[in-house]
């Protein structure tokens, strides 16, 4: 099912062209990987897809807005309270075994500011995974994660698209074999 169509979209920030003429069709059941060097506009393109930044040339079905679970560079969690309390205030029902799978089960009662960067990122990813939404839009989900967690996360994503979900992510680390790629600017190989 077609979710988004990008038709020759271009974007400028303060008069500087960030990317131009990007065309792609995003369907359900796909992983879309936006790749590019730093400053190539990966995050901006994600925000355009979510509708936060207005841009001509992007079309989407009406129902997709309610189906988005988004994670930007920042985690969206309150630092002063524990991980468990953060999930509670957001009323998130975490899938059984997910915390152990990503190595966070023992950290539930830790204050969020005591967690490492990677642990915070995994907690934020758990929010997206447990959101019950079909379209996951995540900015650099693998940044700061160990290789074991990256493997688990890729498996969870593949499982999600297997159920008809969609994952749109930015990434400048190892490519995901099964993904459809949008490359912005020149990519360092």
């Amino acid at each position: 099912m077609n979710l988004y169509s990008l038709n020759k979209i271009s974007h400028q920030i303060d008069g500087k062209l960030v990317f131009s003429e990007i065309s792609e069709v995003i369907n359900s059941g796909e992983i879309i990987e936006i790749r590019g060097i730093n400053g190539s506009g990966k995050t901006t393109l994600l925000k355009i897809i979510t509708g936060l930044i207005a841009c001509k040339g992007i079309g989407s079905k009406d129902y997709v807005a309610d189906q988005i679970s988004y994670l930007g560079h920042k985690n969206g969690f309150v630092e002063e309270i524990t991980l468990r309390q953060n999930f509670e205030i957001l009323n998130i029902q975490i899938e059984k075994g997910l915390l152990s799978r990503l190595g966070l089960k023992e950290l539930k009662n830790q204050k969020f500011f005591n967690l490492s960067y990677g642990e915070k990122r995994k907690a934020a990813l758990i929010r997206v995974i447990s959101s019950g939404k079909n379209i996951w839009i995540v900015d650099e989900p693998f940044a700061g994660l160990d290789s074991e967690s990256i493997g688990e996360l890729k498996e969870i994503m593949l499982n999600h698209i297997g159920k008809g979900g969609t994952v749109i992510l930015t990434n400048h680390q190892d490519k995901i074999d099964t993904s459809k790629k949008i490359v912005l600017g020149k990519e360092n190989e």
Binding site: L52, Y70, L71, G76, I81, I89, K133
Partner: protein, 204 residues
Amino acid sequence: MNRAFLRELKLFFLIPKNIYLPISIFGIIYVIFLVLDLDNSLNYASSFIASFITIFIISENSFKDDHLNGYLEQKFCEGGSLDIIFYLLAKWIINLFFVFTPIGMVSLFFQGGEISISLLGVFIIMLSTLYFFFNLGSAISLKRNNSLNALLIIPLLIPFIILVKGIFVDGKFEPNFWFLSAYFVFASSFIFYTTLEVLKIQSR
């Protein structure tokens, strides 16, 4: 709406500063006025000034944490404007019950020893109006991290201050109350909507 309300309610009680900060700021300023031993006719003025400064200080951080940790960006990307309307409403309702009402009751108690429902209503409308205006200032100054932009809002409050003076100092409840209510409607609609749009721009 429920989700937003529950989040704000739980956060209010989980973070201690949300509870002690407004009451302690109000208390300290009020005690200063007590020590100064001003004329009795200035009683209402002192509680107004104490409330004004309290709302100004607590509104300064209304959105700061949620902006810095990326929560606002998430809300705009996931639920769009409707989610943010619920978020703003939930914040106001929590403050209404746990900040404005206690401050109003304390102020009226110290002024006359008895709490009149109509004066408490005026106090709550007054504090809510201030809150909406200062929230706009807080949203404007979100990325610059200073109070200068918030201070720009104060000229908009001049008519409001004249009306409050009319009610509390001159003792003319009508028509000042109806004008104050009109100002509250303006703050809770136009200023509320402007705050929403400013937050959206700041989250890009």
